[in-house]
Amino acid sequence: MLGVGGGFIIVPMLSLALHIPIQIAIAASLTSIVATSSTATIAYTKARMTNIKLGLLLETLTAPGAITGAVLASFLPSSILSLLFGMIMIYMAYRMTRRQPPTTSTPHTASPELHSTKPTGVMTLLEGSYHDQNLDQPVTYSIRRIPLGLAGSFVAGILSSMLGIGGGIVKVPVMNTVMGVPIKAAIATSTFCIGITAAIGALIYYYNGFIYPSIAGPLVAGVFVGAILGTRLMQRLRGLLLQRLFAVLIFTTAILMFLKAAAIL
């Protein structure tokens, strides 16, 4: 429903509540994220909410980010990164609660300061539109600040490999607050993106023998049903409510990151 894949719930549930070794829990979680992403992308592409071109563009920087994160992990303490990440997330949460989603928007632009520049070149290729079920009207939008969005996607890759968090928690606010993508399109595009990243990660875990069919199998079947319900709910909810729900989610994640940095978690 929020475009983050649910890994932040599945991993603690499997490792802390069911005492499953962390690598097996992460492998099962990544597999279930692929199932969630694929199931949700059916509904989102049908509703034309997923901006496929934007998703592919952002993913080109997530993969190098993940490699960079793996390298950085060897000499940068994760506590420093957790602290930095927590601070950025609190700022993002603050911005998301302040911004208004589109109400009558054709075209939609995210914030007043962005109205001044018209999209050109690659930006026009990345424009998107969809029918908002809640507003019962079409929403058309342009993409802004592509370099900043790409930088955010790179950071998402670094964080996902260094801290074991899904890139969606970074990508959704970056797309929404920085690039001017309406929250529903940002969630749908992030859902598509996390499937690609999770699939690569899961294939590596599979190769190393961490995907246990007895754990991943039932999880996939369960999230399949959950993803269908989540996507239906997301399409019917108001954009503002989704933004606030996401702000609560990233605020909670930021607090967990601070606790991790302080070695409490």
């Binding site: 597999t31 692929v34 199932a35 992403s37 694929s38 199931t39 992308t41 059916i42 592409t45 049908k46 034309r48 997923t50 496929i52 071109k53 592919l56 563009l57 993913e59 080109t60 993969a63 190098p64 993940a66 490699i67 690659v122 290729l125 598509f192 499937g195 690609i196 999770a198 699939a199 690569i200 899961a202 294939l203 590596i204 599979y206 190769y207 190393n208 023998g209 961490f210 995907i211 246990y212 069919p213 007895s214 991943a216 199998g217 039932p218 996939v220 079947a221 399949f224």
Partner: protein
């Protein structure tokens, strides 16, 4: 409409992919629950996987479904590239080729 063609190809691919992956996963889970607790260790060697499927081993059947599932997102990137090639959308072709290269490099670096 180019965008609608991409959306409909994606939609079709995921539906087929999910059907092909969920069928063995669910069938394997049913078979495993009937057979009771047994060997549940992961099957990673392809020869072992094929042998397991031929002997209707529940673990191997679920693993097959999971592998098909994991290939869905990668196949979507490939399909996007094909659609962009048909549409002669050069910037998007470049993006999808670049992404496929990065994904391959990430996979190779992680596995070696």
């Amino acid at each position: 409409m180019k965008q609608s063609r991409l959306n409909s190809w994606f939609n079709r691919t995921i539906k087929i992919g999910l059907a092909v992956s969920l069928t063995p996963i669910i069938a394997g889970l049913i078979a495993a629950s009937i057979a009771g607790p047994g060997q549940a260790k992961p099957v990673t060697a392809i020869s072992q996987l094929l042998e397991g499927i031929l002997t209707l081993n529940a673990t191997a059947i679920i693993t097959l479904g999971i592998l098909v599932l994991l290939l869905i997102p990668v196949s979507l990137v490939t399909i996007a590239m094909v659609v962009f090639l048909i549409d002669r959308d050069r910037p998007s072709i470049a993006i999808s080729v670049l992404l496929l290269c990065f994904l391959t490099v990430s996979l190779v670096l992680a596995l070696t």
